[in-house]
Symmetry: C2
Subunit: 342 residues, 2 copies
Amino acid sequence: MDLSKLGEFGLISRFQSRLKYRSSQVIQGIGDDCAVLSLNNGNYQVLTTDALVETVHFNLKTHTPEQLGWKTMAVNISDIAAMGAQPKFAVLSVGIPNSVAVDFLDRFYKGVNQASQKYKVALVGGDTVSSPKHLFINLALLGETRKKRVFTRSGARPGDKIFVTGTLGDSAFGLKILKSRRKKWAGSEIHKKQCVLRHLKPEPRVEAASWLAKSKHRVTSMIDISDGLTQDLGHILKAGKVGAELWESDIPISESLLKSSVINGLSALPLALSGGEDYELLFTLAPEDVTNLEKESITKVDQPVTQIGVITARKGIRLISKNGRSKMLQRPMGFNHFKGKA
Amino acid sequence: MDLSKLGEFGLISRFQSRLKYRSSQVIQGIGDDCAVLSLNNGNYQVLTTDALVETVHFNLKTHTPEQLGWKTMAVNISDIAAMGAQPKFAVLSVGIPNSVAVDFLDRFYKGVNQASQKYKVALVGGDTVSSPKHLFINLALLGETRKKRVFTRSGARPGDKIFVTGTLGDSAFGLKILKSRRKKWAGSEIHKKQCVLRHLKPEPRVEAASWLAKSKHRVTSMIDISDGLTQDLGHILKAGKVGAELWESDIPISESLLKSSVINGLSALPLALSGGEDYELLFTLAPEDVTNLEKESITKVDQPVTQIGVITARKGIRLISKNGRSKMLQRPMGFNHFKGKA
């Protein structure tokens, strides 16, 4: 059996099917942004974990220690937000190689602290160990929902509207810039900096998620976009056994990305469709729900949301281009951790 | 600032003092085996995390994948037990290098599954990522207490009796055997095997902890022994601002370790005092409590416990030798993750 063929998700479902101990308190186990746990006080808890590995998820040349600390918290907080929950308590493990000094750690923890303060997450413990060569970081984060309201990946039905918060692709373009330091990218420095910042210091959409959780809107599914729009939409489609139609002209692309990409002869669309690390929320809304969610989200939480398509009974993702042509997207591609592994 | 001088605990308290966001729901934050969280259902929750790193915590030549999976769960379960709590839900991160194949992972998850089943822990999520060179594993584990009863490191008072479950030092001797495969160790194969197994497949004392949590015994502090008796006792003494007297002749040493050490010209005592990875419970009991805890623990949970000394007002650890002489132990030594680091 080849790990590159099995892939991350294959490996996970392989193990999931072999689990021997199951608890009736587990509402949602392996396979969503967070696990959902039922306690006897009527609320649900959500639990998630994310590992960040040097050379795989980050590079000490591109991320400052503060940004790395912030990002460690932010990516986990985003998973909690995607369930419509509030992040509460975190435990942090750090594997520290010889090359990392106390000053680096001070700055790393400063970034952790900043995110912890902004998103009201109490860091309550952790494990600090040595690592033979590479820095690795793991955060586990516990959150709470309002009553039993929780958004999962499953639940999207044909006709549901597909929404996304914010803009897509900035982070992927920012990463491109970071990875090619010697290349001179044309265009506005401010625009480029904004894209880079979206990659280095993502802002999870806790407030927007919390507003939707408190609202009466019939959110039928939700996920955060970490692996890219099409791959993460793919998870919603798989869970709901449905397909989707995406409207190219409605995919929200920031002015920064649009102008920077045009001037550099790049296409922004692939970055928005599969770039990843956007940490925006992707969610579906029942068709009979409000028609002015875009306005309401600005008023209530100052957060743009955009309808980018609809859920279809027909499987797969069809992209409707600006000239009205329909194109079936290839099997959603995103980051595969085990590409080329035997 | 030198990381080797600061050490793991120095680093933790350095960061702890700088924490900016604190929540009133946190009963115990950084600095115990687990964090203690207060929910509005009257129970407490405990949360812990432990990272295991190849070459630092384990070696793929000495641990089978199954044993590694088991140990990953067991070391975290032991932290939960040390709070007098029940382990409930776990999330597991694995960083997988190229050299690790699917068969290895299957066997690793089998070990995880075995411990999960034995200790009734539901594995509810995780993160599976690639790692550039070394395998690393991180588990975060959530547990629940009965009502608000929780055992922490602080609370030991002069006159309190010091108890330990099981026997000490077997694991450290087992590790010695594993590390020196070419050396021919004298003595009974069964004895040696038992010590090796204590290292490879530790059995956290959940049942004993649960019995004490349900009982009326006045447990004043508790910790699990992972870094060695004197180092972990040191945490209790520091938290309670007290000292201890340990009785050499009462330190419980298994027949396996005793016979194996004698025949190999080794002293068992240092292994029992500072070997580590025993995963036994170390706890203190108010002086007016029962005098026959040793018998009761056998009857109730078939678990030997032994009084090994008393808490003193005088700081430090004094060891009373078999001939009645008293010796001040050096500053408790245990595993330092950052020895020799700059």
